[in-house]
């Protein structure tokens, strides 16, 4: 490749990445601007102030909301990993009657967006007295439509594992559950990592479900809380919203930068090569 081509390529890439990088920069610097300066076009606040970051915690129980989002995402991720790995393994490796029919039944979950069923699910949880609790945000993702994709990915992975590894385990006297837990699961680490990443992000981003199911501020999750920093006229308190948005985005961004290889390759790998 000639030097000229290289320079052109770098030029194109640098221009293209502006809209990908600029919003994060603008979010953080604007969060540091006092309200009087918030609409100034300066790339750096003239008098950086952390006041808005303080307001984030006094205007709403933000720490509590943070905890809600984090624990819900963690529980959903752990639950999805366990049940999707089990089901994926059984569909890939164990022969049992009705297997193919049941696999089709489970796969229908992929075809049905959760928005289609939100009205009946709302009624179901309402009659169980679970409105304004976190149960709908935990149970539906672990067992319902969102986990079907995870099951499918795990099945695709287990199909590619060499049978010889399991036979060695059987020789050593392991039963099915032992083979699954001691041999197959540890080997499935790449697939598990990918499923964990996208399950966590999906739960972390959930917006429709929280605003449908939750009504009290103490129970809110982060995405829902972010839009609630408003003044008396329902106008957004921009520097507070942007501070809260920064606090929501930055930890995940840091984890991503540290582990970007696993993130990108994991997701490319699940690649749903299907």
């Amino acid at each position: 490749m000639s030097n000229k081509t290289k320079i052109i390529l770098y030029g194109i890439l640098s221009v293209l990445c502006v809209p990908f990088v600029f919003p994060t920069w603008w979010m953080i610097t604007s969060a540091l601007k006092p309200n009087s300066e918030i609409f100034s076009a300066s790339l750096w606040p003239s008098h950086p102030s952390f006041a808005a970051f303080h307001d984030v915690f006094t205007l709403q129980p933000f720490a509590r909301q943070y905890f809600n989002s984090a624990y819900i995402a963690l529980v959903v991720t752990a639950g999805t990993l366990i049940f999707a790995a089990m089901a994926g393994y059984a569909f890939a490796r164990i022969r049992f009657r009705g297997q193919n029919v049941l696999f089709v039944v489970v796969l229908t979950g992929l075809l049905i967006p959760s928005e289609v069923t939100i009205v009946p699910l709302f009624r179901m949880f309402n009659s169980l007295g679970l409105i304004d609790t976190h149960w709908p945000l935990i149970l539906v993702p672990i067992f319902g439509a969102p986990s079907v994709l995870a099951t499918f990915i795990m099945r695709q992975f287990f199909i590619t594992l060499p049978v010889e590894l399991e036979e060695a385990g059987r020789m050593d006297g392991l039963g099915r559950p032992g083979i699954f837990a001691r041999i197959a699961l540890p080997l499935a680490r790449p697939a598990l990592a990918a499923v964990a990443i996208f399950t966590f992000l999906t739960s972390w981003n959930l917006y429709l479900e929280p605003i449908v199911y939750l009504s009290s501020r103490d129970n809110f999750t982060l995405p829902q809380a972010l839009t609630q920093f408003t003044d008396a006229y329902q106008g957004p308190l921009w520097n507070v919203q942007l501070s809260a948005a920064s606090l929501t985005a930055i930890p995940v961004l840091i984890v991503f930068v540290l582990a970007q290889r696993q993130f990108i390759e994991g997701l490319a790998h699940t690649g749903l090569k299907g």
Binding site: P23, A87, P120, A145, L201, L253, I264, G271
Partner: protein, 297 residues
């Protein structure tokens, strides 16, 4: 000696059933039963505030057919989906091809283009809403080069375009990574052969690259289309469906009817409509795959 009842095969059968039991039960309780119920509810007039639940047959479907807003809603959904899919797939492919060149620092750019994928969706959307204000960052940038930008989110012509672009930049990294993986699976010797024959770059791309990555293209197209029909948070935060109904997509309309106007029966009817559209699109794309997707044999 009596043969053992718990043979390895029987034990395997039982384990198989036990392993899929949670997932299967979940699918039945949280997907299939609600799917049947949503059809049942769509045949009812059901107002939660008035506590009424009456069977009205196909009335909701008649109301749907004559709903003056439905045309606008379907139009908005169509524009959003078409715009998103076209822009997302072509930008993802462009980025993947650029990053597949033998160039230093591609990992760095890959990380940059991918990073919005991990930023919280609502946080990302809030920042863009802030930047797209009349006096926001985007117009400030435009002003610096002497262009007077419109009020992006408040004018009918630009609101939908803004929503599409915000969403494309958020998620294009995911498709880019999938395309990169596919591009790396194309055998190098095919390119070498094309170069020996003196084929121009564009011909090589069209005759070799595109056919060989077509399975990935199909899959990402399906995922992107189905995902585009589920868009909600972006609309709710950026435009609240406005101005007028220019950005009121189907899921947002469903949410308004069911959870803001408390017309649950009509909301269920819109849910059925959404399901029918998703089903039809998936079947259509699956049928098209024969024509579309290149097979090596």
């Amino acid at each position: 000696m009596r043969p053992r009842y718990w043979t390895t095969r029987r034990r395997d059968q039982l384990t198989g059933w036990l392993f899929i039991a949670p997932q299967l039960a979940g699918t039945v309780v949280f997907v299939l039963i609600p799917l049947v119920l949503v059809v049942w509810y769509s045949l009812h007039e059901w107002n939660v505030l008035a506590d009424s639940f009456t069977f009205i047959g196909a009335d909701n479907y008649r109301a749907l057919a004559s709903d003056p807003k439905l045309g606008g809603v379907l139009r908005a959904s169509l524009i959003f989906s078409a715009g998103l899919v076209v822009l997302n797939l072509s930008l993802a492919l462009l980025l993947a091809v650029l990053l597949n060149q033998r160039l230093r620092g591609t990992t760095f750019f890959r990380v940059l283009f991918f990073s919005p994928v991990v930023v919280s969706l609502v946080a990302w959307t809030i920042v863009w809403r802030f930047m797209l204000q009349d006096n926001g960052g985007v117009n400030a940038l435009l002003h610096a080069v002497g262009i007077a930008g419109p009020n992006w989110l408040r004018s009918g012509g630009t609101a939908m375009a803004a929503v599409v672009v915000v969403q494309v930049i958020k998620n294009v990294g995911l498709n880019m990574v999938l395309f990169l993986a596919a591009l790396q699976g194309v055998p190098r010797d095919l390119y070498d052969a094309a170069r020996t024959d003196g084929a121009p770059a564009w011909t090589t791309f069209r005759r070799i690259t595109l056919p060989l990555i077509s399975p990935t293209l199909l899959l990402t197209a399906i995922i992107t289309v189905v995902g585009s029909l589920q868009v909600f948070a972006q609309i709710a935060v950026l435009t609240e469906g406005g101005p007028g109904t220019s950005t009121t997509v189907l899921v947002y309309y469903l949410y308004q009817q069911a959870f803001q106007f408390h017309a649950f029966g009509y909301g269920a009817t819109l849910g059925v409509l959404l399901f029918v559209i998703v089903l039809a699109l998936t079947v259509l794309q699956w049928q098209l795959r024969r024509r579309w997707v290149f097979h090596e044999q």
